[in-house]
């Protein structure tokens, strides 16, 4: 036995520690910007939490009081679909006030905005569950801009009211303007003109109006100078609505009726957490099941995957190779991207046909994305390509599996069994 066999690893670990330290210390943080950004996100998260909405990591799912949106045509429709009772009040719970569907909210919002083109609409009505909101992309001719409105209640006269309508500390958050005023009817209105990223890493502007009435009706209207709050290019110098227009829209009487139509004590998702992921499903087992669920007319050429949550198979039906890949992820609470249909059991399904994302010439990617309802919140995403690899040129016109076949795979109950076991 070689004499240094005794503990070669320890010394490697020591050197690794030193190397990590040297490398890590080479990064210099702009601490003030990080703290400002963190604080600003915290404030907004608190608003969302109050509204009974849980925000995702890194601002992925900002729905609720703060307004809005992630992707054009984003999650709103999903949320609405998830709350079937958003439609007129069911007879079991007669209500003295009308309820508002997501479409109602969108209609009202569009009616209050100046003429322009609308797209990327999404909304959730005043049913039980999460608080209502509506968002869309509005273009007055000068560039598309995300606009979102959200509703909830606060206790009149509580410290919360003041907190919601008090301008942030300028030493902590950089913004261009902010003012709070009391309206003749006793409402408090804060008009805020700031930035999506307080460190202004990207100059997306975020302007908002927070209205809290004397009765505690809380309405937040937000707008950006981009088609989405994050991950969309700045499309115009300023958001489309001036502070005066923001005021006009946010103070419209109909919104107060909307807040009144929110059922008392809506059960939020405030206790849900993305901090802790449930146990992951092994990639090997996913791959084995994927292979079993593939149509009979395709032959598996190669297969593989990651340790967890992901597997792929390259198949051939005689007309060329086609990569099929799958993600199986329990506990995904962020919803689906894009619009989705809701199945009877509450499962959301969306399909997508798009160019490949990794640069292979002529590569297309067909995807069926599914999300089982809570508590499993199991997400199964299956994609097929017209190539054996995304970054290689297309080998055939279409993927070897049809969207219907992909859908059948994604919706197989065997995934639920696999994830549960």
């Amino acid at each position: 036995m070689p004499e240094n066999q005794q503990d070669p690893r320890d010394s490697f670990e020591e050197r690794l520690t030193t190397a990590l330290r040297d490398t890590g210390d080479g990064f210099t943080a702009d601490r003030a910007a990080l703290v400002a950004g963190g604080q600003s996100r915290g404030r907004r998260a608190r608003l969302r939490r109050r509204a009974g909405v849980l925000g995702g990591v890194a601002g992925i799912a900002l729905v609720g009081v703060g307004g809005a949106l992630l992707l054009p045509g984003g999650d709103g429709s999903v949320e609405e679909a998830r709350t079937p009772a958003a439609a007129p009040a069911p007879s079991a719970t007669p209500r003295p006030v009308p309820s508002y569907s997501g479409d109602d909210l969108l209609k009202e919002l569009k009616g209050l905005l100046p003429d322009g083109r609308f797209s990327g609409e999404g909304a959730r009505g005043t049913g039980p569950g999460l608080p209502p909101n509506a968002h869309l992309v509005y273009d007055d001719g000068d560039g598309p801009a995300a606009i979102g409105i959200g509703f909830d209640r606060v206790e009149p006269g509580s410290p919360e009211v003041r907190e919601l309508t008090r301008c942030p500390d300028e030493t902590l958050v950089a913004y261009d303007a902010c003012s709070t005023s009391r309206l003749p009817d006793g409402s408090l209105l804060m008009l805020y003109q700031g930035y999506e990223y307080p460190d202004r890493r990207v100059d997306t502007k975020w302007w908002s109006a927070q209205l809290v009435t004397a009765r505690g009706q809380h309405i937040t209207l937000s707008e950006w100078n981009a088609a989405a709050e994050k991950d969309a290019p700045v499309s115009r110098e300023d958001p489309p609505l001036t502070p005066a227009q923001l005021t006009e829209v946010v103070t419209a009487g109909v919104w107060r009726d909307v807040v009144d139509a929110i059922p008392e004590n809506p059960k939020g998702l405030a206790t849900a957490s993305v901090d802790e992921a449930p146990p992951a499903v092994s990639g090997e087992r996913i791959g084995a099941l994927l292979t079993r669920l593939l149509p009979e007319d395709v032959e598996v050429v190669t297969e593989g995957g990651q340790e967890e949550e992901y597997a792929y198979a390259v198949v051939d039906d005689g007309e060329g190779r086609s990569l099929v890949q799958i993600n199986v992820q329990p506990g995904m609470t962020d919803g689906l991207y894009g619009s989705a249909e809701t199945l009877d059991d509450g499962t959301l399904v969306s399909t997508e046909q798009m160019p490949g994302e990794k640069g292979g010439a002529g590569v297309v990617m067909w995807t069926v994305d599914t999300l089982r309802p809570a508590p499993a919140s199991l997400r199964v995403v299956v994609s097929a390509f017209n190539s054996g690899a995304q970054d290689r040129p297309a080998t055939r016109e279409a993927p070897a599996l049809t969207l219907a076949e992909l859908r059948e795979i994604a919706l197989s109950p065997e995934w639920d069994t696999l994830a549960a076991g």
Binding site: L34, G38, P159, R162, R201, A277, E308, D369, V381
Partner: protein, 172 residues
């Protein structure tokens, strides 16, 4: 009431300012040098701490808690990413990644980037944060055995990529 809250805000700001630099460096290692993502994760972490600050003061060790939140935010981000941007960067293996040709030219960050996200988190927690196996297991919600397994595997891969003596790794 207001004063109490203001006091908490100040306390939070003090803590956040003191820890932001370290969190950022941790995040840079976790993300293998993606500084934009690192900033995003740190802001997210500080944002969550802000929301929970009132309760945290009673918990003690907010620094450790912050690191846990950061690590989990990173892993959640990776998970979400894998739902959208799957595959080719990991499929099949990167050509030349482990062929032994010029592995010593790799920087430590390059090498970290070739570890699966959870393995990277284990390395950062164990060797940068100096957490024990058990503490690391708590952060990652896995068993100690799983941490050990990941650790051994990650060290093996790093050794292969960087060389035993680590003498030639380059700095960022």
């Amino acid at each position: 009431m207001w004063q109490k809250r203001q006091g908490r805000e100040d306390e939070y700001a003090e803590f956040a300012t003191a820890r932001a630099g370290h969190l950022y460096r941790s995040a840079c290692l976790l993300t293998a040098g993606d500084t934009h993502l690192a900033e995003d994760l740190v802001q997210e972490t500080l944002g969550r701490l802000y929301v929970r600050w009132g309760r945290m003061a009673r918990v003690g060790n907010p620094a450790g808690y912050a690191q846990t939140v950061l690590t989990r935010a990173f892993l959640a981000h990776q998970r979400r990413l894998s739902s959208r941007e799957r595959a080719t960067d990991r499929f099949p293996d990167l050509p030349g990644a482990a062929d032994g040709d010029a592995p010593l030219r790799l920087t430590l960050l390059d090498a970290l980037s070739r570890l699966p996200a959870k393995d990277r988190a284990v390395v950062v927690l164990r060797y940068w944060e100096d957490r024990s196996v058990e503490e690391t297991a708590d952060v990652l919600n896995v068993s100690s055995a799983a941490v050990r397994t990941r650790c051994v595997r990650a060290l093996g891969k790093l050794r292969g990529l960087l060389g035993e003596d680590l003498s030639e790794y380059a700095r960022p």
